[in-house]
Symmetry: C2
Subunit: 685 residues, 2 copies
């Protein structure tokens, strides 16, 4: 009987499994939980779902040849894939059917535009030297002649075979030791932290051990679940920061703490609970997915779930205890709140944090539920709000090792800037606010189903085409009722902003022009403010027109102004007027269209090919610290050797800021300052 | 108006307070919670309440002269106090009335025979070098020019003023840091553990800090509450080991663990709860005693307690957080059970412990409720059951620093023996069982009110005089109904045993003689066993004759046999037949009459003046480790450099043991082995 299933492996996520032969790779990706971009909903007309059939790595997976395993090339693919790309193995996923075992690489640009997925780990170079290492020892069991205690027996083995000495042991591990030794018949795998402390003993020989690098963002939390033996990213897990309910930005969370006696503990408990949930997700991913059992007729009980292992797929079947190390980063406020350190002084001049230095905290002391003796390594803070997350960016990008001068912009709810080279490094933060991430706008929303994440406005007709999260097909390929739009999320903001300008709907000053061509432009009757309709009520799930208002545009201008002015002032401090390289970190960076961003004056002038998106560099740095203990030292060194600049007190900041708010920063049609700059920014100390 | 009160200070306890002038020193001692021995109940006929009026230390306390402060010498005192003693300031407490401020020293032999009090700290020499030290720093508050974080600011101060570097900080202390700095206006007292880690920060300047050295005995737990700045013992607190309900001796506790899945946790929880209670006692002692408030008529609520500070008495008003360090010792089983380490392998050949080395465990990880960042130092174990308690004895007595060969016997529920000198040290344990401490006898009981603790038998009449705990007057000075005897406690055992022999009631073999002179000797109707009445039912509170049976005598013989044989075998191992010094540690040692003990064959032959009682040497060693961190290193060194000998496998043990069971070990009237040696000992592996 012929096998009607085939194994498909998607890289870089590593997700794999058997799928029915004959389905296309978009369908296969859905079955295996991989997100591939498709605008047209598999109509084969958008060309966004480019993937690469991997060759070189076939042997590794025991797959002989790709030739016969994918359906033949279709003519329509020529429209989207150049000859050179074709040669390299590129195909459209929607036009490629599975006919045998294959290995598929999904390039960054074809990964679906979900905010969280874009935080996937990049392939940065990391030397192997994790803080937690495992050692296998075979011991001789106690005899009357040699009745030495269990701990000393293990130590002797580790010293003899692995040259480790002066080890200590955590009490929780010590409690497990006698059983592990006897269950393993005196052959055990010992996990040692920093060559100093035994934190786990398992019976028998174990080759793999695991850790988690977690970037705690103000809005999004991402965890890289890594194999500490192979350095492989086993899974990427993410979630909203549950503290969002206390306020969107860092200042509102600090205010929440100051206004509520137990506010700090509550916010800390929430993020810890969140981290434990994230850990659960990582662990659950190592088991077969649970499938809903069909209800029998007349049955009233809750749905039952059963584990259904997929044939041919390897599951690791890990437990929480298998996570032996965690590294954490976040901005200073997130850092302080998570650790229950009073964050209020960070918010007040002269902004001293409670601590700069990194911390090794026993996981159980933070109520983080992993291997009980393990430590959580918390990256060090720089200064002000430029915290452990920026240190993560630094140790991932290593600008201090380069001759060239790099400007690294990490755009999150709080913008963090680093500028420098091997001679000098300066950092700063700028209050971009959450506008660039979609918050604070009238129809701003988080990256969730129904959020407009891409938009195009026809300069002639001012007609709008857009895409929402949760639906692959764009507006023009869809029925109005199928769009179910709800608002605009971060990744759509710059699109909206630049498209409005490109189509001539707004002027350089950011003001709506008067001579509008379509009925989408109107004055709101209540607010008397101009606004532009992005999606009509009939396309929405909220039965309202989704609009962008003049005030929204001003918010975006404030954010971009703060960012641009910050960059400029830092460059002036360094005595340069052009950077050699501009790196954009954060979720925003992976979505941003570099040309649009430059044209809009989001960043200082830079050759377009020198602008790089470095994805979640903070998370990458966190992962580097997980996999290489030397990176931890490096983190402490760099955190104390980057000069922090408080931008708001630079004499020229206000002028630079106001100037930078325009689109491409020139000086026609500039509005009155008071009209557009909120009081708290104008009178910022 | 003349002051009708006077200040009295008792040494070595340090208890002090104002008492009404005119009362005698026994009455004063009761008011201040000091126990002075008095057999006759202040009838001035027993001469047991000798105390010394201190001279040399008067100036220190601002008291000018003793002359006029105590009532004049009474003739009757000449009967009990020699001229030389009189010269040195000795008086009978019952014959000395308070007439002004005085300082009184209560010699060991006059302290009342409560088991727990006898575990008082001795005055051993300890160098000052505690693991936790306090440092005062004055810092400059953060400015815009110098906005360094709180932790780094403190570190810089500690480095500059106290030469401490590379400090880390516990997360719990870090959480307190911002408030402590600001509350203290940037002047703080920092507690540092081992010059490595900041474990407490208090606002302002603090001169004193505190710690607790705890000896966890199988039956009794004693804590020395010490001022870590002055090294003074502030208080001694004690309690029964709450694990006693799981079995009197170590083997029965191990058995309890093996028979009950949660037995180990239950026993551990109990002792931890006990330690927290002990800590409460220490803390409560720093507040004025609570006095019951008189109920108003018609009031039905619970009794109310109010704090009534005694005039002139200094109270420290400490909290649990003021305890910044704890050292712990106990035998290997107590050590393992407390730490929830599986103790079963310690009980099985080849008896490997889970760990020998000392441990530093965060107090909160043991649920011990003191300063949350503090560590508990657990002394290392030697081997078999010779655990951290014996290491305590060793570092207190330091036989490894002496030329002379010392034999140190620590008699608790488990006997631990050490023999050696600076060249060689051997140790062993012997299953004395709890008989010498009063358990396992038909009327054996713990040191509690009603327990017979001293006894004398008239060789002519076989009449018995005795004393019970809780009553100062002996039987012959009392009414029968006032004795309220209940049983015999540990301190009375050897008295009973040797008096029975001295009076000719038992033979050298331990068997009751036939030719008895009094009706106190009889055969029990039920058991057909001979027994001897120590106290008649009318003198008891249990309405029963309190007797010692033939089986009881056998139990004592077994204990003494094990002890004697153990000593002998160790001496043979060392190649000696006489020791230079014999030290008796443990509560038993402080009560034992050396001549009686030698005559009974409890110890190997030794000149009487070479036999010393060293009190609770284990506790003293524990206290040394609290006050001097070098003693911790020394403890680890000695624990690995004392050679452990398993006595029961020495070829000659059985013979030595059986021989040693006799009174003075000779060979007449020796009973059949099977009659007196229980199976488990005869067939011990």
């Amino acid at each position: 009987m012929e096998n009607n299933k085939a194994m498909v492996i998607f890289q870089p996520s590593g997700r794999r499994g058997e799928v029915p032969k004959g389905i296309n790779l978009i369908e296969a990706s859905r079955l295996l939980g991989v997100d591939i971009e498709t605008l047209c909903g598999e109509k084969k007309v958008c060309g966004k779902c480019k993937i690469r059939i991997e060759e070189g790595r076939f042997e590794k997976y025991g797959i002989e040849s790709k030739k016969s395993h994918v359906s033949p090339w279709q003519e329509l693919e020529d429209k989207f894939i150049k000859a050179q790309e074709k040669e390299a193995g590129y195909r459209l996923a929607c036009a490629s059917n599975v006919e045998g075992d294959i290995l598929v690489f999904v390039p960054e640009e074809s990964r679906a535009g979900k905010q969280l997925v874009s935080k996937a780990a990049r392939d940065i170079h990391i030397e192997y030297n994790p803080a937690v290492k495992i050692y296998y020892v075979e011991l001789i069991k106690p005899t009357f002649e040699e009745p030495t205690g269990d701990f000393e027996r293990v130590c002797r083995g580790l010293e003899k075979e692995h040259n480790l000495s002066n080890l200590r042991i955590d009490i929780q591990t010590l409690r497990q030791l006698p059983m592990a030794l006897r269950k393993g018949d005196w052959k055990v795998t010992v996990s040692v932290w920093m060559d100093q402390e035994i934190i786990r003993v398992q019976p028998g020989k174990n080759k793999n051990h695991y850790g988690l690098a977690i970037d705690v963002g103000t809005t999004t939390v991402v965890g890289y679940f890594c194999n500490l033996t192979t350095m492989e990213v086993v899974d990427t897990v993410s979630m909203m920061n549950p503290q969002c309910k206390y306020g969107e930005d860092v200042m509102s969370r600090i205010t929440y703490h100051m206004a509520n006696a137990d506010g700090l503990k509550r916010m800390s408990d929430d993020i810890i609970e969140g981290l434990n949930w994230l850990i659960d997700q990582a662990i659950e991913g190592t088991y077969p997915p649970k499938k809903k059992k069909k209800k029998k007729k007349g049955e009233n009980g809750p749905h039952e779930f059963v584990e259904v292992p997929e044939k041919g797929k390897t599951y690791l079947y890990l437990t929480r205890e298998d996570i032996e190390d965690i590294t954490l980063c976040g901005n200073t406020a997130m850092h302080h709140i998570l650790l229950q350190l009073n964050p209020e002084h960070v918010g007040l001049s002269p902004f001293p944090p409670v601590i700069h230095h990194s911390l090794d905290i026993r996981a159980r002391d933070l109520n983080i539920d992993i291997n009980p003796s393990s430590y959580v390594f918390v990256l060090p803070n720089e200064a002000g709000f430029v915290g452990a997350d920026n240190v993560g960016v630094l140790i991932a990008e290593e600008p201090y090792k380069k001759d060239e001068t790099q400007l690294i912009i990490d755009i999150g709810t709080n913008g963090e800037l680093v500028l420098g080279n091997k001679h000098k490094l300066i950092s700063s933060s700028c209050a971009t606010g959450p506008a660039l991430e979609g918050a604070q706008l009238q129809f701003g929303m988080r990256a969730a189903p129904g959020a407009i994440e891409r938009i195009e406005i026809d300069p002639e007709t001012h007609e709008v085409d857009y895409k929402v999260i949760g639906r692959d097909a764009w507006r023009k390929y869809s029925e109005a009722k199928d769009m179910k739009a709800k608002g605009i999320c971060g990744s759509g903001i710059l699109d909206v902003f630049s498209e409005l300008y490109r189509a001539g709907i707004i002027a350089k000053s950011g003001a709506f022009r008067d001579n509008q061509k379509s009925n989408r432009f109107r004055k709101n009757m209540e607010t008397n403010q101009p606004e532009f309709v992005l999606a009509w009520a009939k396309e929405s799930s909220i039965d309202k027109d989704i609009v962008i208002t003049q005030k929204d545009v001003r918010q975006i201008q404030l954010a971009k102004g703060a960012l641009y002015a910050g960059c400029k002032l830092m460059m002036r401090r360094m005595g340069i007027d052009k950077v050699d390289k501009l790196k954009i970190a954060g979720a925003f960076g992976t979505h941003v269209d570099r040309e649009k961003a430059l044209a809009m004056g989001l960043f200082p002038d830079c050759e377009i090919e020198k602008i790089l998106s470095v994805g979640n560099a903070a998370g990458d740095g966190c992962r580097a610290a997980l996999l290489n203990r030397d990176k931890r030292k490096e983190a402490n060194w760099v955190s104390r050797n980057v000069e922090y600049i408080e931008l708001t007190v630079e004499g020229d900041f206000q002028n630079q800021f106001i100037e930078a708010m325009q689109i491409p920063h020139m000086t026609d049609e500039f509005p009155h300052l008071e009209d557009i700059v909120p009081d708290e920014i104008l009178h910022q100390k």
